[in-house]
């Protein structure tokens, strides 16, 4: 197993980086990433670039695999989008393997989380990707945490696609350190200050030029002397 990884490192280091012969190793590595819930965007983007350079070697199911893995890295990396830059229409994009995922990714990016979960169920191969759903939930919880001060357990359950009463949901709430009150309400941020504080916008980067009072006095004096 580590042989493949070492070979991939060598390829990414420049050895036959853009040779079609490297594809086999990189694709094997992709299988490993899938099975072991690991992720290497650089290797996967290289596969897509090789497909672009040698379209005769393009494999639809591999493209799909890469895109599914990239869904798990929606934020902050935007990996799905990075993959899309390498997938021109006609030859690569206009096939259900890809368009289905583009729609899924758009749902995540526009925060239509309910829609995401209901669509996801239509694609068993995506659902079966180890670790994917957990990663997507982490992303969603991140968005929820920046937006909400408090919300109901039901609302959260819809966002993360877990039944309200499930133990998994409770675990997720615990994992993020959110406080659950007796009425089923979740407190996301605790202090009042945190929420209503004024935003002080500091001048940054623009204050390189400074002028000392002394200099200012000279300038003002000379302004005064000209009349």
């Amino acid at each position: 197993m580590s042989d493949v990884k070492a070979a991939v490192r060598q390829i990414l280091g420049g050895e036959g980086l853009y040779s079609a012969d490297s594809l086999q190793t990189l694709e094997e590595y992709l299988d490993q990433q899938w099975a072991n819930d690991t992720y290497d965007v650089e290797a996967n983007l290289t596969i897509l670039k090789l497909y672009l350079m040698y379209p005769q070697h393009m494999k639809k199911d591999r493209v799909r695999q890469i895109l599914v893995k990239a869904l798990g890295a929606t934020f902050p990396q935007n990996d799905f989008q990075l993959c899309m830059y390498q997938l021109p229409p006609n030859r690569f994009r206009d096939m259900p393997e890809v368009t289905e995922l583009v729609r899924l990714a758009a749902k995540l990016d526009t925060c239509d989380f309910k829609g995401f979960w209901s669509d996801l169920d239509k694609y068993p191969d995506v659902v079966s990707c180890p670790g994917l759903r957990a990663k997507v939930r982490t992303f969603i919880c991140g968005v929820v945490a920046t937006a909400y001060a408090a919300l109901s357990r039901e609302a959260l359950s819809e966002y993360v696609g877990l039944p309200p009463g499930s133990a998994e949901l409770s675990a997720l709430i615990k994992q993020h350190g959110w406080r659950e009150e007796a009425n089923g309400e979740l407190r996301i941020s605790e202090s009042e200050d945190d929420r209503v504080k004024d935003v002080l916008v500091k001048g940054e980067g623009a204050t390189k030029e400074r002028i000392s009072p002394d200099k200012l006095r000279t300038v003002l004096n000379s302004v005064a002397s000209v009349r």
């Binding site: 350079m53 990396q77 989008q81 390498q86 021109p88 935003v199 000379s222």
Partner: protein, 589 residues
Amino acid sequence: MADIDPPLTNGAPSSRLPPGTKWADVERDAPADVEADDEEETPYTRVRGERQASSHRVGGGGGGRGDPPPQVQSFLRNFYEDVEGRKVGNIENAYEGQFPRLSDQYYSKTRWVDPSSVSRYYADQGFEKEKDVVLILYKELFYRHLHTVGGPESAVRVRVEDREDSWGNYRDLFDYFLEVEMEKKPGRGARGLQFPYTWTFDMLDEFVYQWSQFKFFHNKTSQGRSKRSDDDGRIRFREMVALADRHIWDSARVIEYLQLLVNKSGINQYFRHNRERARGDDRIETDLGLQVGYFAIVQLLRVQCLVGDYRLALQQLDEFDFSGDSLFYRVPNCHLSLFYYMGFSYMMLRRYTDAVRVFSQVLTFLHTKKDDYLQGTAMGHLLKMKDRMYQLLLLCVCLHPHRLDESINMYLKDKHADRHARLLKDDEQEYIDVFNYASPKFVHPGYPPFDDMDDYDPTELSRTQVEVFLEEVRHQKLVPTIRSFAKLYTAIPIQKLASLMEKNEDEIREILLCVKHKGRQLVWRSGPPLSGEVVTMEEGVDFFLDHEMIHVKSTKIHHNYVQYFVHSIHTFKDMIRSVEHGLQRRERV
């Protein structure tokens, strides 16, 4: 990499001419510039041919017939002697002064003296010692000049053979760098070659440019010829396939060459070494190998950006030296390219804060330097690049509001106020226009799919870049609406906002979450350009949700008046100074 030609030492430039040919014969034997490689253009090629012929008769100042003008001959002679004698100052003069001047004077509408004639000329003069290297350098100038003057509007055509020969010449040049210059140990053996920094940068820059030009030409011509079903069309199509078979300007090799130059030069180790010490090492000032490696990094950034791999583009800069005495400050073209491609990559990675930082940095620098910093042969190109950066900056701040430096704000208000207004109105066509104008010309890294040309589209990769970018624009479509509503309220129930915006509550919740989601991004702090930490946007209106209620955070913006006053004080000071100056002069009179 397995496929580098043997070192150039034996590879005398191909001479199509029998020995003893005179300059005059060379001119006559040289193939006509007219070549019908684009069938559609045939009507024009005839006209072009006539123009070409007449320019030969008139002689373009004597360049057409007989020996090249004496000044050109002496240029060629001095060029050899200066390279052989390692006279950097003279080489700089030749490159930045004489060559452009002679080009304007004698070769503004024709090719320079054919390299094979130059080769024979050197042989006649008994210049043999480093003839091969000098000829490679001459050809570098020759093909660069040809690519500058040649084009559909011009009497000069860049022929397929020219492209192929120039590719071979760059390989010779890089092999020379790799196998001779980078093998040299300090203090031992022959002195290494020295070029002005601009030329070293230009060589690598031109290499990538000609690759992109070949790709455009090859993809387009292949597509055009694949549509023809007559015998001639098939033969011409096969010519295109043959170019691919011979790996002419093959993207993989272009990247591999650049990578090899970076790796073998040891430039990244040099950067690391310098970072770890308080006092920098300035070996790069005299070491051609390191300079080549340095500029090759900038070109790798560019190539990866041109093929749409923005992550890998920025990754090239992991070790790069951005300190004040870095080489790019001495080569304006390098400076602008570096920041342009870097900023563009950040923008495509949706790291708008970083893109704005990078563009602002170079644009404020240019603002303080005024335009004489950009003076030189490439000035037009650099001014255009500068304007592109302003427009990209505009895109970034429309997608992600950000405070700009005062000087940039003023420029944008002055030059692009309409554009800015249209972008803020969320005019999608405007986004497309700005993007198409300001983005680099993307290059499809592959050869066309020769077996299946039916739905081949040579512009597919650039279309993809626009489309993926627009996707982002569309996802952000309602963000400004939300912000403007948020300005009006301190608290508003989701239900009420929904009825105001004529949406259902679920949709409103999505949009609100999306605004928050888009307000966060990775922002660089220090170290490799790809690194960063998640930062929440400070600019504009902020809000949070409490169940079904939207609370708007009261935002007090503390304006930076210092900037304004400093600017005004400077202006006054200048005015007073010039008034006083005027008064003094009058008194003296």
